[in-house]
Subunit: 261 residues, 2 copies
């Protein structure tokens, strides 16, 4: 039997229409789709003939679960099927891609990786706050607020720093940011459910970042610190802390949808 | 007259099929598309009814040119048209988005930003080298090798650092990396024309990075330094310097295309 193929596809931050055309085409050709949690059900419409297998991992997945996913990938590919491994965001950024590529290399199975929109980019787009700024914002760093050992990390290494998966740890992240040398008045933008119609953005400072926790509770959040958190000059002002103001981001998207029939 | 709308769309790294579905839909609804150089002509098929206006900027664009682009955006939107401003990669990363958003805010014109795949992600996908690695690669930084003042910068701030627009300055970048504290044996992966069928990847060390210049001459390149430059364990070995080995990346993509009729 001809061995199958595994295509890793970045689904983007969640909403189905932020997948790439190449990713959508891979889905349309898939026999099996292995997917995590947090995926827009509308993605299923792109791959109606595929078998969808939920292998959801959330937060601190354990190695047993990863081994099971690796084994499933190999098993399906070895029966000659075209397997799409659908990952949130971009597969190469906090996607645990390495372990799965290793398992497939060990089994001699060909792979393809289709990139996707990582959450930091969707948060910047929704909030219209570019991560790089002329003259002042020349570097961007992406990191998780938590290490594998559940130890909260922070740093001050780039003009703009974006933290993934910081949701429940915002007050602790703020303390670490101060310890890393960021001033208490450094602007911080928190965006939850980036890319979705109900995306929310709020403005904070490092000192008051903890206030964002309740606002974005239960919603996947991205925390942007530094120059890239600032609103663009001339844009409508957004309310300031201590009353973090929610900014409904769906407005512009609805306008867009209604622009043309 | 109802004012128009400007939609900034990240086209991805170049190949038309790396645009998002949302970006493609915005193109399909556009009256006018303002685009830069380096864009896949196949994108035009997505917006056949739009007027395509080339506002190409390359390298060190001057402020005069930026002002002209700003004025064009405002002019077209003020006549009630739906304008797509198509940008390579992601608009929020090295896309000069801030200036254009400011000009539109000043004119009171509504905007939307659709994120895209930034080049670092496409390079990681093509080379199957995840930017984050379990335990060892927890942070990624994105920066340009050149500042606006054409002064070459480098740093050692994250486990993996990705440099954009380093093409002609690789030997100089290597010297700066050494000065920033990276060891001469640090792995470096260079990918040019990421996301395209003729994408090329080569392996180097910081010490020998200069050798990549001829190999990738004239092709937009991304330089990845550190943990994220390492091949995944078990994957077929890639030739080592001093004879930088070109790795044809189209192979897997052709396999994929032929998998299904």
């Amino acid at each position: 039997m001809t061995p199958g193929l595994v295509v890793f596809v970045g689904a983007g931050p969640g909403a189905a229409d932020l997948i790439t055309l190449r990713g959508a085409r891979a889905l349309a050709h898939a026999d099996v789709v292995l997917f995590d949690a947090l995926t827009d059900p509308a993605l299923r419409d792109i791959a109606p003939r595929a078998r969808w297998v939920h292998v959801g991992k959330r937060g601190f997945e354990d190695s047993t679960q990863q081994a099971a996913i690796n084994a499933l990938l190999v098993k399906h590919a070895q029966t000659g099927q075209t397997v799409v491994r659908l990952k949130g965001g971009d597969p190469s950024v906090f996607g645990r891609l390495e372990e799965e590529l290793e398992a497939l290399a060990d089994a001699g199975i060909a792979c393809e990786v289709v990139p996707g929109v990582t959450a930091a980019l969707a948060a910047a787009a929704d909030s219209q706050r570019p991560l790089t700024r002329r003259g002042t914002g020349r570097s961007v760093s992406l990191s998780t607020a938590m290490t594998r050992e559940s130890e909260l990390r922070s740093s001050r290494t780039a003009d703009t720093e974006v933290f993934y998966m910081a949701g429940k740890q915002l007050a602790a992240l703020a303390r670490r940011l101060l310890a890393a040398g960021w001033s208490s008045q450094t602007p911080v933008s928190v965006v939850s459910r980036a890319g979705w119609l109900d995306s929310l953005q709020s403005d904070h400072s490092v000192a008051s970042l903890g206030h964002a926790a309740m606002l974005h509770a239960g919603r996947p959040s991205v925390v942007t610190v530094g120059v890239g958190a600032l609103p663009v000059a001339g844009q409508p002002p957004i309310g300031r802390l201590p009353t973090a103001v929610q900014r409904p981001l769906e407005t512009r998207r609805h306008e867009l949808a209604q622009t043309k029939p």
